[in-house]
């Protein structure tokens, strides 16, 4: 096996181990949650036998180890069972919610990364200039400002006071439902504007500061002096510098995406965006455990998978990384 293949195998094994550990933790947590799932039937006219049958159906009476084994199997296959409340399989619900979260995050990510990297690289190259100083100060300020308050402010100003943009949700009621339909509707973009703005204002700071720092480091490298000594035009030198400065961004992107994915609970609540974060909050409030459990799992899984991907991609693009 080549060094790289071995490295991949090792990271994969580690990731699987962590997933298993987290799944176990989730299992334990949910077993500890108060509330008898069959309690929702208290109002209805279910007889005791029917309740018993329901429990058997849900496997709630089997010994814990059996439940655990079955649970692991299901989770691995993404078989999350049915929601206690909604008339759908949990998998179907989460798939849609995950898609919705992506619909909010992806545009913001793209803008933040592309724009942020560009601004950061320029700021780093032009160290000491006014542009660089203002960029850094603004970035630091935005970086530390709590985004959910910015979200609330944005809502208050742009939606409630000025009425320019809708106050929440992803699409208006009765709007398109398919991915393609949503993405091509102006309605979605209108709803996206505010949350995206808030997200970008926070997330863009990462690439800006990262690229600036990275570019500063690269700029001070000896090989840049040699490039100048070689009489190369400025544009070529900047390209050299940028190629080097971009390397840390790759890892950052994956980590960033992972963080975003599970951290958007706040913005999803503020903007009533039907994403996976909001779904978790709602499910916990409703005691809809299958959904909550699966949502938690999905969020952890996505984070881990993205980190793993980051490691891999970085290894591919930086020729200096060796695997031993």
């Amino acid at each position: 096996m080549t060094g790289f293949a071995r490295y991949v195998a090792r990271r994969l094994a580690l990731m699987l181990f962590v997933i298993w550990a987290i799944l176990t933790i989730i299992f334990v947590l949910f077993k500890l949650l108060p509330g008898d799932p069959t309690a929702i039937f208290v109002d209805s006219n279910f007889s005791v036998e029917m309740i018993e049958r329901q429990r058997a159906l849900w496997g709630l009476d089997d010994p814990i180890p059996v439940q655990y084994a079955r649970y692991l199997g299901n989770m691995a296959l993404f078989d999350f069972g049915e929601s206690f409340f909604q008339n759908q399989t949990v998998a179907a619900i989460l798939f849609e919610k995950t898609r919705n979260t992506a619909l909010m995050i992806v545009p913001a990510l793209v803008i933040s990364i592309v724009l942020g990297a560009l601004i950061g690289a320029i700021a780093g190259w032009r160290r000491g200039s006014l542009m660089e100083k203002t960029t850094v100060v603004t970035a630091l300020f935005l970086h530390s400002a709590p985004s959910f308050f910015v979200g609330i402010l944005a809502l208050m100003v742009f939606s409630y006071q000025l009425g320019w943009l809708p106050p929440g949700g992803m699409v208006s009621l009765g709007g398109p439902e398919t991915l393609w339909g949503i993405v091509t509707s102006g309605d979605y973009w209108q709803h996206l504007a505010l949350p995206c703005l808030v997200l970008v204002s926070r997330e863009i700071t990462g690439p800006i500061l990262l690229l600036r720092g990275s570019m500063l480091e690269v700029k001070g490298s000896d090989f840049i002096d040699i490039l100048r000594a070689k009489g190369l035009p400025e544009r070529q030198i900047v390209t050299h510098a940028a190629r080097n400065a971009l390397l840390p961004l790759v890892t950052y992107i994956a980590v960033m995406t992972g963080l975003l994915f599970q951290g958007q609970v706040l913005l999803e609540i503020i903007f009533a965006w039907p994403g996976i974060g909001r779904e978790l909050v709602v499910a916990l409030n409703d005691l809809d455990y299958p959904v909550a459990q699966a949502a938690l799992y999905v969020m952890a899984l996505v984070t881990l998978a993205l980190n793993f991907l980051a490691d891999l991609v970085y290894g591919v693009i930086d020729p200096r990384v060796t695997y031993d």
């Binding site: 490298s221 000896d222 090989f223 002096d225 040699i226 490039l227 100048r228 000594a229 070689k230 009489g231 190369l232 035009p233 070529q236 050299h240 190629r243 080097n244 390397l247 930086d318 020729p319 200096r320």
Partner: protein, 335 residues
């Protein structure tokens, strides 16, 4: 008209502690095909001269004086004109070649880049030239597609030399090209450079702190201390030094033939460039210093044919040379 004429060059930097003068009125000349060695301790301003010649000093540097290449004044020259001269006429072999290459581009790409920037050769011709360059420095052409980190230190340095030779420049400035390499590799590199000098005839400016290296390879030697030239001449700079500092430097390098006798080093440390000593910069560490040395700056004057020294007491050099060989002399010097 000499190939390279440096006249009264001043380079200083603004620092939080004041103005640091790295090069203080240095004058040098290099003819075509010369092999000049510039020696001095770390921090004396040698690398600054190298960068000044290539015009790649940091922005914080202030330059004054004259630096003429083939009669053309380089200081104040527009960037566009400078770029034309760079690498094609003057090339640099930097200190620490490890960092001289861009880590994410292949070596071949970087050599190619150098050629393409100045010569109008088609890709095929460039490839041939690159292969030839590698052969010249003794590197195998199948390593061309590798990255810098895959080369050993010595190989990297040779690749750097190959790159410097790419356009057959009239002048090659080698800034401490062997620092950090082990002695055997050092030897190989220097031999290679001597070969190239002999066959291709480029003028070379070898900058180093190692007197032994310079004495073995260079036709002419210049000794620098605290931003100033102390002595300059042919090989008799080493054989019969006129300046006490040079004598100290010669002592610092062990002679395998003289196995008895302790290693003599110059006491004290190099002076601050922000607040240098008055008069002769070396007087604080010189065992032969007199009051005059503290007050008056000694000018660089021709003592014997082609051999210049900046010392008030150069006439007593033979006497000093004897004393310099005795370790006791250096112990009494009050730094």
């Amino acid at each position: 008209m000499a190939l390279l004429e440096i006249e009264n060059l001043h380079v200083s930097y603004r620092t939080p502690h004041g103005e640091a003068v790295a090069v203080d009125g240095v004058s040098l000349a290099l003819e075509e095909g010369d092999y000049l060695g510039l020696v001095g301790e770390s921090g004396c301003g040698k690398s600054t001269i190298a960068k000044a010649i290539l015009g790649i000093l940091p922005q914080a540097a202030r330059v004054a004086g004259s630096l003429r290449f083939a009669g053309r004044e380089l200081i104040g020259l527009s960037v566009i004109e400078l770029r034309r001269i760079r690498w094609r006429d003057i090339a640099l072999i930097p200190q620490n070649a490890m960092n001289g290459f861009d880590p994410v581009y292949t070596i071949e790409k970087q050599l190619d880049e150098a050629i393409a920037a100045h010569a109008d050769l088609p890709a095929g011709a460039r490839r041939e030239r690159i292969a030839a360059l590698f052969a010249m420095v003794g590197l195998s052409p199948d390593r061309l597609k590798d990255y810098a980190h895959q080369f050993s230190g010595g190989m990297r340095q040779r690749a750097m030399i190959a790159m410097a030779l790419a356009l057959d420049p009239k002048l090659i400035v080698a800034d401490e090209p062997t620092t950090g390499l082990d002695v055997i590799i050092q030897d190989q590199i220097l031999e290679r450079m001597a070969e190239i000098h002999a066959t291709a005839g480029n003028a070379m400016l070898l900058i180093t702190h190692d007197m032994a290296v310079v004495s073995e390879n260079c036709d002419r030697i210049a000794v620098m201390y605290a931003g100033r030239i102390m002595e300059i001449g042919g090989t008799d700079v080493f054989l019969s030094p006129l300046h006490p500092y040079t004598m100290g430097l010669c002592n610092a390098f062990p002679d395998a033939a003289r196995r008895e006798g302790e290693l003599i080093s110059i006491p004290g440390t190099p002076p601050s460039l922000v607040d240098p000593p008055s008069g002769c910069r070396f007087h604080t560490r010189c065992p032969f210093a007199t009051a005059r040395c503290t007050d008056e700056v000694p000018p660089l004057i021709e003592i014997s044919r082609g051999h210049f020294a900046a010392c008030h007491h150069a006439d007593r050099a033979p006497e000093f040379r004897d004393q310099a060989r005795d370790p006791a002399t250096w112990r009494t010097a009050t730094p």
